[in-house]
Symmetry: C2
Subunit: 243 residues, 2 copies
């Protein structure tokens, strides 16, 4: 049975980190909220989340359903799928190292979200714009260099070469790092100016992932939703400035 | 060889979620930054983080060292330790369910942190106090009920009874939920007023964990650092108000 990915329709959001791995592996999956038919669509997703009897209810999308098993959280889904999709190392210990890298991406993504929603998710962006400007300025000045600098360093210190974040083969974290660079370039083009020079290994990894046949085909397909201002990475010109 | 836990000295912080599991299991461990001697103390922690040769450098504490293996991030450490400490289910699929619950706690803890640092970690609390008041008000009104309501629901929908968050035995997520309630009671006593009535299963779980002999002994020991205003859960009276 195909994997079922449950995530909000209309945005890349956190679901995109899972989609990239499924697409790279050319695995059969159903993007449930975007599909039509019986047990499909956003209502099918909400019905699981609101279930009064399901013991393993997720707090929020994305979650993956594999048969009866419901797995929430991006890093957890990728931890589960990685070995099945050939996107994780065989050695058990290294899987924790890989999971640690993905969890650092999780933290970074939460900070990206808070650049436009620093006070409350329940309020509109327009109602927290001044605070968003302050938080974005700090994000560009302090947090982008801290996170991207860290991943650059991990790539450079990889004993098997800077082509991959771990070992000598593609993993789901490489795909997630591609998405991070894509998203930051979309949201903060001024803030990201010159990142190719500052983070050469990360930039090369981004380009290498974009050239992979399955990823390139996916990015051109209708399955890839365009970045927009409902997602995690939003381009608000007033929040973007040179680092 | 004893597990080595690396975390900032002087605060419970994120390290406390790991400590509680190690203490419940009465496992031998070294709290490295708080210990003295060769390869001990905060400098030993910083030297791993700043290493120019270690391939698996962590982004931030806490991290666990088990021999040569370095495992960063609370949820990842608990995923690794859970089965070894007898604090995780035997069935593989359920370990992903448990990890998903811990990752929801991770997200919640990040939001707790941002109540006092909504604009930037690099700035003082005093420089973002107005924004902290706005974020804390939303946190008390919207986020505490959303997260605690979710965990209460998971407890109530546990087919094996509301005594545990998963299955019929203690897991590391039960211990983490104890710490969440402890921390919120410390930081937001007014905001948490009446939580015993609103979240009866969660409150009962908190009390049951506190009564466990190994936890009770730990809480009375010098190893348990008191809550303070350098940690994640901070009590600033100006941020606390009734829900």
């Amino acid at each position: 049975m195909a994997y079922e990915l449950y995530y909000w329709d209309g945005i890349q959001g956190r679901g995109e980190f899972v989609r990239l791995s499924l697409e790279e592996a050319r695995t059969e999956y159903v993007d449930v909220a975007r599909a039509s038919g019986s047990s499909r669509g956003t209502s099918a997703m909400m019905s699981i989340m609101r279930s009064g009897s399901e013991p393993h209810i997720p707090f929020a999308p994305p979650f993956l359903k594999d048969g009866d098993l419901i797995i929430p959280h991006v890093a957890n889904i990728l931890l589960y799928l990685g070995p099945k999709l050939g996107l994780a190392p065989k050695e058990d210990g290294l899987r924790y190292v890989l999971n640690g890298l993905q969890l650092t991406i999780t933290d970074f993504v939460a900070e990206v979200h808070d650049t436009h929603h620093p006070i409350a998710t329940s309020l509109y962006y327009e109602d927290q714009k001044d605070e968003a400007k302050a938080r974005s300025a700090e994000f560009i000045k302090e947090r982008i260099p801290k996170f991207l600098g860290y991943f650059e360093r991990v790539l450079q210190q990889n004993p098997q070469g800077p082509q991959h974040i771990l070992g000598d083969a593609l993993t789901y974290v490489d795909l997630s790092l591609f998405q991070i660079i894509e998203g930051l370039n979309y949201a903060f083009p001024k803030g990201m100016a010159g990142h190719q020079t500052k983070y050469p290994a990360l930039s090369a990894l981004h380009d290498a992932v974009a050239r992979r046949p399955n990823i390139a085909a996916y990015l051109k397909s209708k399955r890839r939703i365009a970045f927009n201002e409902d997602g995690i990475f939003r381009h608000y010109p007033e929040l973007d400035k040179a680092a």
